[in-house]
């Protein structure tokens, strides 16, 4: 399991690191470009929010650039797809295709099987986050951009907690449906809804309260990179992930499994 999913996580993480390397590589050019500076000044705040820039600053500040580009929408999309598909492959796909029959025919309890799958998911996420932050640190060393190293560390811990929560409810749907298609559909739709609510909450101050009802609203990369320590959101997301995993464990241990 570790071998199978680890390879996939490593591939995704390598792709993301190279993507970040490319983005950081072009930063000196972008930050000195008058056109980009002018464009970012002219953009309305609501549009900047949609793209993940939470302060009034544009791309002239490295932190806002990294928050928008390296941890922005493309990164979220890739992480979301990778996490949901991994969680699906760990339970629903195995049940759907019959491979789970071998695991469950051994004298190893269902909870133990699920715990292994959670460990696979968690370690995959850790590899992806680790390589992302190493890629950013490496790129910054390469292009000699001074940064607060620990701020980036705090940010990946927060992002890890966010995607652990995404993976945990995806595992829960995987355990509930035991079939690939509905499990992926519901997990993706729920993630998309959370994301849309986050974007919506940023459009206008009147809707700001909505961000409390979406896990994406708990994560503000730019603020963390600018020095905020996100203890509460990190603990909250880890707590949610624990609840989802416990629910998945309860359902997986009690449910009829048709393999």
């Amino acid at each position: 399991m570790f071998k199978q999913q680890g390879k996939k996580a490593f591939n995704y993480a390598t792709g993301l690191s190279l993507y970040n390397l490319l983005l950081i590589g072009v930063y000196p050019t972008i930050s000195q470009s008058m056109v980009v500076a002018e464009l970012s000044q002219k953009l309305p705040n609501s549009v900047k929010h949609v793209f993940g820039v939470t302060s009034g600053s544009g791309f002239d500040r490295f932190e806002s650039y990294v928050a928008t580009q390296c941890f922005g929408r493309v990164w979220l999309l890739v992480m979301g797809i990778s996490t949901i598909s991994t969680a699906d492959a760990l339970i629903a796909k195995l049940v759907d295709q019959g491979g789970m029959a071998y695991l469950l025919s051994s004298p190893v309890g269902r909870l133990e099987v699920l715990a292994t799958q959670v460990a696979v998911l968690t370690s995959g996420l850790a590899v992806m986050m680790g390589l992302t932050v190493l890629g950013i640190w490496g790129a910054m060393g390469l292009f000699k951009i001074p940064i607060d190293v620990w701020a980036y560390f705090r940010l990946v811990v927060l992002e890890f907690a966010l995607f652990l929560a995404v993976g945990a409810y995806s595992l829960l749907f995987s355990a509930i449906f035991n079939e690939e298609e509905p499990a992926i559909l519901i997990a993706s739709s729920f993630t998309f809804l959370c994301y849309i609510l986050d974007v919506f909450s940023e459009l206008n101050d009147r809707f700001l309260w909505v961000k409390n009802f979406t896990i994406f609203g708990w994560v503000r990369p730019q603020k963390v990179l600018e020095g905020e320590t996100p203890t509460l959101p990190t603990l909250g997301l880890l707590g949610l992930a624990t609840i989802f995993i416990m629910l998945a464990g309860y359902i997986f241990s009690k449910k009829d499994i048709h393999v």
Binding site: A101, Y102, I257
Partner: protein, 304 residues
Amino acid sequence: MINVEGITKLYPKDKRKENTELRGLKEVTFRVDQGEVFGFLGPNGAGKTTMIRHLMGFIKPDAGFAQIKGLDCWKNSLAVKALVSYLPGEMNFLEQMSGLEFLNLMSGMHGDRPIFRKRRDALVERLELNLKQSIRKMSKGMKQKLGIIYALMLDAEVLILDEPTSGLDPLMQKVFIDLVLAEKSQGKTIFISSHMFSEVERTCDRVGIIRNGKLATVEEIQKLRQAQQRTFEITVADEGQVQILRERGLEIIAVNGTSLSIEIKGDLNPLLSGLAQVKVMSFTQKMTDLEEAFMHFYEGEGRF
């Protein structure tokens, strides 16, 4: 060793009044003694796999219970699985692994006893399988062999085999039958689910016949074999010899020139003594399929 008492499992479809085709099981009861090979026969969709899922503790019965060595298969599923080795009907392995990696993983999950490796090596030699090959690249037959190696290497007291010879060539089917008979001689209890009469005919002591979710009967294989109707396609030298066979009182169901189709139920001796009187040019046996065999068997006893 295996005790199934009134197992009922109804799926949502089964609970609808207009539905007459049961997908689950209804009040299935049977026993399998220690050292016995028990065949569980029935057409596809009759409930064979649902029964196995109960024995393996994958699903919970609505009513009744299944026990292996006195342990409830749902409530004590871990203890039951320590006694049981299972060959699933669908050969869907963890495909990115090689055969060897898969067997090592499963061996570890079953406690990794030294005998597993010894038995594995002997089985690999017997079934001629390259374990280094990736499972993804294996043919259906090769995957079936891998499944058989997995099931037999565990040296379990009880073997539960779902359609074990599907995908195997005739030579390997024979090897499999020899392996099952060897396990039986060691006192293992074996439960084989199948829709192929020939698969269980050579290995089983008794057969349970399931149809539409209900156990129609449990019979000794000898009795079923006697009741099985067989059709022989025979060509003789000339038409005069066809007449000789007619006079022997055999049930000739079709004649085309010098070719005949003869149906025999039970004892073969009348046919053999008839054939001794003529010059046989060709002789083939057409086995009746399982459903047909059952129908003939039960028509006689009026159970269907």
